[in-house]
């Protein structure tokens, strides 16, 4: 099978090919390496590659298969990880200069689960430094470009993960989502991206941005593939106290069963001003599709929606200011060469090692936790967070999933928002409340603008209701398959 046809396939299809023996894992790995060679100079999804290791894992998978010891559907399938997820012996930079020379001595739990499933773990994917941003413009190693339009951002912070799937540099990738960092870039790059319920996927080994909001989740061309990857990485982890002790159902199996149309809620606060017309049109078309399939469409209200961005920026930055304190130039992080005393080591290493956005958020977060301000900011934000969660609880008494656009606009140009942090923060306005409420949410491609930029549809589900959520998304995706369209990256 030629390499261009291999890389256009979904993970599920590749798994089928491997099973019937029409290709080998090494050929698949080779095909992706060639594609990365071909397009990554333009896209810049990857921060680091270890081709030798990648091919060796693929060969090991082929050997297992030859002996009849295949580990499952993902055995031999490449999966690339955002550069905040630890892989033993591989660098982890978080797209920051301060971790320039750090190599992780251990595997994240998701990495271990992928290895146990036989997945072939590939290169390290670009992001906004420490996952702080919505465009990957905050990467210390240069931005990733949107494969659909190289002048546009891929979204962020998991822009490398979304762009790699869109540019067919990997069939599956993992990102992390703190306020929309999986769903927004998935939307902007025209791929499927899912943030699971908080506690569904272990955070052990994920360099933390905001601990109470972070979740690792999959990117793929189809909902079916997302289900396959999600069921592999989910489940309780004794190394993460916030991971939820529940059984993980087989999502792939759920998608094979006939789904029952259910009630979808449209929160009016998500359909107000600020939404691009073409985005609105595409989302309305998707609503029409669901109606035609027998879904009940329910208008509802999430009155606290406008509080979610300010609440998020108080909580996420507070946690970040503490989580990022460990990057101090003392141990494994890069020490400033200009430091002349102990205080200098901290101040200069962090001053030189962190980018502007990271510094902005650390300062903001430390301020919100300071004595005299804690009650007014952090405590108040936590209380408001409870109200936001209660809004969703009430909504889910009436509906099974909530449908919204993922992002108010399609991909924007480089520099368009980077000078104005507030406008950048508002690009996550539709995704942030899901994290504050701890709910699962996914973005599924629902069309393109006239100029050819992808548009994403967001579906939000009940806590630990991933099965239902995937099944609702699959009903749409199965008949539209926008994620299977590939951008033209030829000169």
């Amino acid at each position: 099978m030629d390499s261009s046809s291999l890389i256009s396939k979904t993970a599920t299809e590749l798994s089928g090919e491997l099973e019937v023996g029409t290709c080998k894992a090494e050929e698949i790995a080779q095909a992706y390496l060639e594609q990365i060679d071909r397009v990554d100079g333009k896209v810049h999804a990857f921060l680091h590659r270890d081709d030798e290791d990648f091919l060796a894992q693929a060969r090991a998978s082929d050997e297992r298969r030859a002996k009849g010891e295949t580990l499952g559907a993902l055995d031999g399938i490449p999966v690339c990880l955002k550069d905040v997820i630890s892989v033993e012996g591989q660098p982890l930079t978080a797209a920051s200069k301060i971790l320039k020379d750090y190599v992780s001595p251990y595997d994240a739990t998701v990495t271990r689960k992928l290895k146990e499933a036989g997945a072939v773990i590939g290169g390290r994917l670009n992001l906004d430094e420490f996952a702080m941003g919505s465009s990957t413009e905050n990467s210390a190693y240069g931005p990733t470009r949107n494969p659909w339009n190289l002048e546009c951002v891929p979204g962020g912070s998991s822009g490398g993960s979304s762009a790699a799937v869109a540019a067919r540099e990997a069939p599956l990738t993992l990102g992390s989502d703190t306020g929309g960092s999986i769903r927004q870039p998935a939307s902007l790059c025209g791929v499927v991206g899912m943030k699971p319920t908080y506690g569904m996927v272990s955070r052990y080994g994920l360099a933390a941005f905001a601990s109470s909001l972070d979740q690792i989740g999959p990117f793929s061309q189809t909902v079916e593939d997302a289900a396959l990857l999600l069921e592999t990485i989910s489940g309780h982890d004794p190394l993460d106290s916030t991971s939820y002790p529940s059984e993980v159902p087989s999502y792939s199996q759920i998608l094979k069963e006939n789904s029952q149309p259910c009630a979808l809620g449209l929160p009016k606060e998500f359909f107000g001003e600020g939404m691009d017309d073409e985005v609105r049109a595409a989302v309305e078309k998707a609503i029409e599709f669901y109606k035609s399939k027998g879904y009940e469409i329910v208008d509802l209200s999430l009155p606290t929606t406008d509080l979610s961005v300010p609440v998020y920026y108080v909580i996420a930055t507070a946690e970040a200011s503490s989580n990022l304190a460990r990057y101090d130039g003392i141990r494994y992080t890069t020490r400033s060469e200009h430091a002349e005393n102990a205080v200098d080591v901290y101040a200069k290493s962090r001053g030189e090692g962190f980018g502007e956005e990271v510094k902005r958020r650390c300062i903001l977060g430390a301020y919100g936790l300071s004595s005299g301000y804690y009650d007014a900011y952090y405590l108040r934000a936590q209380k408001t967070r409870t109200l936001i969660r209660q809004d969703f609880d009430r909504a889910f008494e009436k509906v099974d999933a909530i449908l919204t656009p993922t992002s108010p606009t399609p991909a924007f140009k480089f520099g368009e928002k980077s000078e104005d942090p507030i406008s950048m923060y508002l690009s996550d306005v539709y995704t942030i409340s899901t994290n504050l409420a701890g709910l699962p949410g996914l973005s599924v491609p629902c069309g393109f603008t006239q100029s050819g930029l992808p548009i994403g549809l967001q579906l939000i589900g009940k806590a630990f209701g991933e099965g239902k959520l995937l099944s609702v998304a699959h009903d749409y995706d199965r008949e539209h398959q926008f994620g299977r369209q590939a951008p033209n990256l030829e000169d």
Partner: protein, 491 residues
Amino acid sequence: MSVKYETVMGLEVHVQLDTNSKMFTRVGTGFGKPPNTLTDPVVLGLPGALPVMNRDAIEKSIKVGLLLGCKIADVCKWDRKNYFYPDMPKNYQISQFDQPICEGGEVEIELPGETPAVMGEHRTVMLTRIHLEEDVGKLTHYERDSLVDYNRAGSPLLEIVSEPDLFTPDEVFAYLTSLRNSLVSAGISPCDMEKGQLRCDANVSIRPVGTTTLGTKVELKNLNTISGVKQGVEYEIRRQTKALENGEEIFQETRRWNPDEKRTTSMRSKEMAHDYRYFPDPDLMPVKIDPEWIERVEKELPEKPFDKQRRYMADMNVPYTATSALCGDRPLCEFFEQTAKLTKDPVKVANWVVNDLLRELSQAKRESEEEDGVSVEDCPVSPESLAELINLIEEGVVSNNVAKELFPEMFSAGKSARELVKEKGLEMKSDGDEIESLCAKAIEDDPDAAEKFKGGKEGAINALKGSVMKATRGQANPKIVDEILRRLLSN
């Protein structure tokens, strides 16, 4: 007329809990291991590492709370104390801010009596709270560099905070001694101050006698031994009194005790106090302590040292001096009680344990090359063996003097009393004929003494006894010698 001042002090005592693993990870705890060997990603605060609570640390904290009569929290939570210092790999310490595991409680103390043989006055010192936190690493400063050892970092550490309820250096000494005895005997911690297993900061203030408001508080650090604590607060009381007498002001500050120069020096003033930006640690769930758990721990509580002392004195007639040597040491008490059960006279047993056993143990400790020396638990003389020796005296098989000489040999050779007696032929000679002939010979050899005794000089018989004992190398049963001599001399 000059103003008289009184002192008010409170102590913050840190105790390392004797758990197998660290507070938030599986790595072991211990003292004296090569630097930075008791570490893992969690201890080192590597990107992505997460804490998981050690159940035993909670259980030991509950035990301490129950021992000291505290109220145990239904729910306790974990907070981050944020500050930059190289002894903390994460640059925050996981501690408890506003919901400590224990509140209230008290420590019974004994003040010095008129002489060491007289029991002093008892009173209770009130506690404010006890909270659990992780220990920090150990810094060693050199001329240019400082080195850090994270072996200690992340060990569970209990902070026991007293009310300002200590008024003299003697009370401070008594408080620490009592607290240490309770904690050691309950198996909470070995409380070796040299190993940093027990550390103490003292808050010292003075005020004019008759006033009720507290004076300005000075915190003393680096008090590394119990007598160092006493000396440190003694110095500080003198310093503050002198300052007030000279019309100077006391500043709220932290001062360091210098044991070599025997004085305190200023470390930092209140103005330089940290803002620790406490907030709940989002990586850890609060811990719910159900009443059944508390009940179970309560059942396993050991007898408190002072209760034990009162029981020994009241029920067993053991003198105060012996009980005060016994009761701080639970294994020694167990040894005593086991031995006492096997003999008729607990007072004799107490004296053997307190004098002979302790002497041999401390001798063995001095000679031992091992760090911890020989403890009573692995003492070569078992309670059965000591009881046998004491019973041999009781039965008249050996004399008290022979027994005293035998004991060190039992200790060093690990042989039983009976074995040694047999081996060395040390049974007391109670054979009437043999002793009678020796007595007759003694009278014959020293007619002078015999005459004197007959003449009413009672003491003269001792010379005769002496020569019989000498002839039998001390093995003649003194009772029988006495009987026979008197019979022969009365003829």
